[in-house]
Amino acid sequence: MKVLVAVKRVVDYNVKVRVKADNSGVDLANVKMSMNPFCEIAVEEAVRLKEKGIATEIVVVSIGPSTAQEQLRTALALGADRAILVESAEDLTSLAVAKLLKAVVDKEQPQLVILGKQAIDSDNNQTGQMLAALSGYGQGTFASKVEVSGDSVAVTREIDGGAQTVSLKLPAIVTTDLRLNEPRYASLPNIMKAKKKPLEVLTPDALGVSTASTNKTLKVEAPAARSAGIKVKSVAELVEKLKNEAKVI
């Protein structure tokens, strides 16, 4: 079974981002970039499926600037077999990304596509679902457990009140939640080997996909700052403040 994994290059999750002074966006110049944490989990799950003998080939795909090759090489070092970069310098919406992934899915014909549940930059949580809609496949979003058996996959999903298990016919789309697995680190020999693995570069034009968007970001602002709080000395003082000053209990 062939598994396709989508990964995104995003600002590292530990970086506290700053909004640009002209409100055009957040300042990403000279900021550390990494693979989106949910995408790491997606790669790890694919590698585990391969280790179990279920997956035979792992293709990792990223859509973004040429620098996203770094994240693809990371995925290759973690165990993916080959990589595809759909190069696009502009900021793409989730729908545009889903359309590009659909073109890659048509080309590669994977049985399972694994994505992260959301990217920590745009926080959209849309791409996997949109890809599922465009391809007509079933979707197992927010997965905390994935079990492939025969021509179906059982996905345990994290939902608001607890967990839900659904069964999907293959091919299917799965998006990862945090608790699906603990991603491994790439070892130095594997990082060296990953440099020799194939990495194909495509363009939206070559895939015949229009990336036009109906959404426009007018401005990006910093959130309202909270006014500075105070430190209380005792529990008694805390209770007194909550009762008489904040009046919340």
Partner: protein, 309 residues
């Protein structure tokens, strides 16, 4: 303009998040219709008809919609949605699961987790774990939007008298099926709707120690939450997680106990009206957002707090 709101429910009870979503729809202004897709969800449709400001309820009753599998519900919403200017759903796990599938079927971009309505086509939403707020304009003929419940005060659940209309359309894609569900049981208020939330983090040390928080929560009528660290360590189930990847809460009072205050946790609670932090590390980042901070050992402070409130 006519706005379609997707009801959040479990076939028995209408979830409160629906009221916040209708509130967002009311800010866009226009006729508001509510779609109840489920099986045997008559009581939900009746409850939806009573929501203030709702002019029509569409009740799609079919076995295919029983568990709201997106493969079946999304085509229904996309088909009905062609007659609407806006399609709204709460940014719950259900709404997030279904709506992007609808948007793609309609070939429009979606706007996720709006926190305010600027005009009928312009909305604000947080990005980068709430560290920036984007103002987004949509030129799509049908605007597909999920609503962050904490951004909008709920409309009244009573006072409306909308007509309920049955929808016959049945979509069964046959690509997915429901297997089982395991819901965590709790007598305390629902986390996202509670007026007071008491949350514990890694500092609780083990699951057993959460009893101190439960005791305090019961005295305050509060819900109990947790940081990702506490969930990952297995102290509590993951549906208690507050943060960027868990639940977003904005209660009147949020008490963070033994939580350092990572960016991802703050994304889930920093819109709370009053934040109290109890932590023995006075350098913990949580104190930067706390209105009242207490540097103390939580195992002494929490029982004492419980006695005094």
């Amino acid at each position: 303009m006519t706005i379609l709101v997707i009801a959040e429910h479990d076939n028995k009870v209408l979830a409160p998040a629906t009221l916040n979503t209708v509130a967002a729809a009311a800010k866009i202004s226009g006729d508001i219709h509510v779609l109840v897709a489920g099986q045997g969800a008559g009581p939900v449709a009746e409850a939806a008809a009573k929501i203030a400001g709702v002019s029509k309820v569409l009740n799609a009753d079919n076995a295919a919609y029983a568990h709201q599998l997106p493969e079946n519900v999304a085509p229904l919403v996309a088909e009905l949605g062609k007659n609407y200017s806006h399609i709204l759903a709460a940014a719950t796990s259900n709404g997030k699961n279904i709506l992007p599938r609808v948007a793609a079927a309609l070939d429009v971009d979606q706007i996720s987790e709006i926190i305010s309505v600027e005009s009928a086509d312009t909305f604000k939403r947080p990005i980068y774990a709430g560290n920036a707020i984007a103002t987004v304009q949509s030129t799509a003929a049908i605007k597909v939007i999920t609503v962050r419940a904490t951004g909008f005060d709920p409309v009244a659940a009573e006072g409306g008298s909308a007509a309920v209309e049955a929808v016959g359309a049945a979509h069964d894609a046959g690509t997915s099926s429901f297997v089982s569900e395991e819901l965590a049981k709790s007598d305390r208020p629902e986390l996202t709707a509670a007026k007071i939330v008491v949350s514990g983090g890694r500092g609780m040390q083990n699951g057993d120690n959460f009893k101190h928080l439960y005791a305090l929560a019961d005295k305050l009528g509060a819900a109990v939450g947790a940081s990702r660290a506490a969930v990952d360590a297995g102290f509590v189930p993951n549906d208690m997680q507050v943060g960027q990847t868990g639940k977003i809460v904005a209660p009147q009072l949020y008490i963070a106990v033994g939580i350092s205050g990572a960016i991802q946790h703050l994304a889930g609670m920093k819109d709370s009206k009053v934040i109290v932090a109890i932590n023995k590390d006075e350098e913990a980042p949580i104190f930067q957002v706390a209105d009242y901070g207490l540097v103390a050992d939580l195992f002494e402070a929490v029982p004492e707090l419980e006695k005094l409130v």
